[in-house]
Amino acid sequence: MNAASPGGTGTPRRPDEPRQVVLIVDDSPDVHRLLRIKLRNLDLDLLHAYRGDEALELIARTEPDAILLDLDMPGIDGLGVLRRLKENDRTQHIPVIIISGMKRAEDKVAAFEIGASDFVTKPFDLTELRVRLQAALRLRQLLSLLAHRAQLDGLTGLWNRAFFEERWTQEHARAVRHVHPLSLAILDLDHFKSINDTRGHPVGDGVLEGLARILRRESRQTDCPCRYGGEEFALIMPDTHVQDALLVCERIRSGVEATVFNGCEGMRVTVSIGVVGASAQCDLPPAEWVRAADANLYAAKNAGRNRVVATELQAAGPHAPRLAA
């Protein structure tokens, strides 16, 4: 499923997930065969499990977009599977449609109470099952969109702090595992408080939005620009040597300097940026990277603001001399 990009300019963007995935869990091979044929016209990838434990293992690995779940199976039964899914943060929002020969009201009540989103009794009318599945997939899409929105900063449309923490940990782990270069920048608007105090908060908000636009414009597609909080921003630059990160950040800095923001006529709006990067193996934990980038940001502030300070991080050793600011 495609999550909507927050900005029209292409970043931030998630990797495309082209087709929705539906898992069918039933102990009868006949049911799988039937559904495979009957659902083939929907643009879906189907996964198949014949036992409850097999289903749980597949779900943990693939996180399907919807699940068709039989109740009466050997081993872990359908309600057991459903209960486990609802206990897990990562799987609790996957819509589950129960497909069951059990017609008693108390079976349906039990399933809905645990969190099933729908219940279709066997023998099923396949047309009905198909439209119910489509309804569940639409719901899933909307929930994903909501979850996506929850990761965005409302004012600037950049990724928010929570998303930054998550993505930064992932990118850091990826870089360490594959020994890829990685860079991180922390940006802070200079004298932002005085803009708010003298020109008013709406003007201040406009400056934050303007900086977000410059960040998007000057960063690359694979970079991840985030609003870190207040007037602080962060830019994750995967597969980027610190020298290249410095160039990107210098473009951002000069872009801000050259911009006349609405309501800020006759005023110099500038940004200070701290950058760290590593090209070889670097075992500094992710939080230490942020601290080191922050230290460079404050070095930039102390050196007179409106500048970029960048450092190449070394494996475990003390920080290398700073690059040209």
């Binding site: 049911v31 069951s100 020969g101």
Partner: protein
């Protein structure tokens, strides 16, 4: 493979036999019937009631969806009876035999 005898009563056809999507599926379902009948009979003969219950359960779920509602209903009766019989009950096989015979008879009548 030796042709299996059709049970008493004429051939039983799928309610969906006019649906071109279902043709191939129904054929596969029907082809698998002699094996199923054999498994049902063997499970009953050897008093493997868990196997019998699982076979009946799967047929109950699937047969109706393939357009063979009477088979699904008969399988449901076998499953329900087995659910209410303790495995240790010495007369379990006797109690369920009539329902299994009825199911087997219907399975034999299933036709493409």
């Amino acid at each position: 493979m030796t042709p299996f005898p059709t049970g008493s009563g004429g051939p039983l056809r799928s309610a969906f036999c006019a649906d071109p999507d279902m043709r191939e599926l129904i054929d596969l379902f029907v082809e698998a019937m002699p094996d199923r009948v054999r498994s049902l009979r063997e499970s009953l003969e050897h008093a493997r009631l868990d196997d019998l219950r699982r076979l009946a359960h799967q047929l109950r779920g699937a047969a109706g969806s393939y357009g063979f509602a009477p088979v699904g209903d008969a399988a449901g009766r076998v499953e329900d009876q087995l659910r209410n019989i303790a495995a240790s009950d010495a007369s379990a096989v006797e109690q369920v035999k009539a329902a299994v015979d009825e199911l087997v008879n219907l399975c034999r009548r299933v036709s493409p």
